[in-house]
């Protein structure tokens, strides 16, 4: 292993990103607009959960302290999570979930594509599969973004409101080492927004991460971790 592999901090940032968003998506189960979207959103969540598992397992192996994927997911405190704040944001209505997903996917496709031939061979091996998954996720979220944004007056209004509410979290998606990904992201988002007839809010103030974990994440983890903490080592 050379010095150019991703740090465990970086691995966990992306594992946490995928896992927190997976948890949010599964909150839609039995609540989506129809059975088909229920399955579609759950499928996205399952793909993301699979990505998180692989990254947690890799982080655990490199750390060499015997921590498993479950230890990372279930036994860390909220302050130890490194996910960008975008993926914690509540599901809101279907438009908000779609806008959150589109912004996430536009970032994720750039990040994973850069990993395919990147210097970290373990992450690169994973990336080949994840790029395919993420390409589909983007097709799904972009497709709905355009339908909702360029749909009825009501769906346009809701989509625009979601863009206004979520845009401030875009800057926080990018770690300092991600700077090279930003132009590709901006092009994708601009094209998607143009097709959806929505625009980036002018003068939107960027979200600044607090030193304390957000109440949203604390609540999400409390629910996700409660079973495991009540019954240590529980499995199916």
């Amino acid at each position: 292993m050379g010095a150019t592999v991703l740090s465990n901090d970086e691995l966990l940032r992306h594992a946490d990103r995928a896992m927190v968003l997976a948890q949010r998506l599964t909150e839609w189960i039995a609540h989506a607009p129809d059975l088909e979207e229920d399955m579609a959103l759950a499928n996205l969540g399952l793909d993301l959960l699979g990505q998180a598992r692989s990254l947690y397992t890799l982080a655990g192996a490199r750390e060499g302290a015997g921590r498993t994927e479950d230890d990372f997911a279930y036994l860390r405190e909220a302050r130890e999570f490194r996910n960008p704040a975008l993926v914690e944001q509540p599901n809101g209505d279907f438009a908000a979930t779609i806008v959150r997903q589109f912004l996430h996917d536009a970032y994720a496709i750039e990040w994973w594509t850069a990993r395919v031939d990147g210097p970290d061979p373990d992450v690169g091996a994973l990336a080949a599969k994840v790029v395919k998954e993420t390409t589909y996720h983007l097709r799904y979220s972009r497709g709905w973004l355009v339908r909702l944004g360029d749909g009825t007056d009501e769906s346009h209004r809701r989509t625009s409101a979601a863009v206004d509410a979520l845009w401030p979290f875009v800057g926080d998606l990018f770690a300092p080492s991600d700077a090279a990904l930003r132009p590709g992201f901006d092009d994708r988002v601009a094209a998607g927004f143009a097709d959806a007839t929505v625009s980036v809010p002018a003068g939107a103030e960027a979200f600044t991460p607090a030193t304390e974990p957000s109440p949203l994440l604390v609540e999400l983890l409390a629910e996700m971790q409660s079973l495991h903490r009540a019954h240590p080592g529980v499995s199916w």
Partner: protein
């Protein structure tokens, strides 16, 4: 789900060289979403290499009440099967 969500019939081709086979149906507002729904519902476990979706309303179906006149006349007509005919011994390979 609003009124503009139509029903679409889904056909899955299990692998190259086989035919598309009817797998079920999905609700969707348009063809692209129908295809995505079909993908999410019917190919989660590697069931297919190709999908067709067809608006259910575009399928012309036979009336179950007509089964007598449409299908029963095929009964008892063994001569329509190749196995009905005895081959002469001289025809070795056919």
């Amino acid at each position: 789900m609003s009124d503009n969500w139509n029903l679409w019939e889904v056909f899955v081709r299990p692998r190259r060289g086989l035919d598309h086979v009817h797998a079920g149906s999905v609700h969707a507002p348009d063809a692209e979403i129908a295809l995505q729904h079909a993908r999410d519902l019917f190919t989660r476990r590697g069931e297919g290499v190709s999908l067709w979706v067809v608006r259910s309303a575009d399928i012309v179906a036979s009336d179950p009440g007509d089964a007598g006149e449409l299908f029963d006349p095929a009964d008892g007509k063994d001569y329509r099967y190749p196995t009905h005919y005895e081959l002469p011994d001289e025809v070795a390979n056919m």
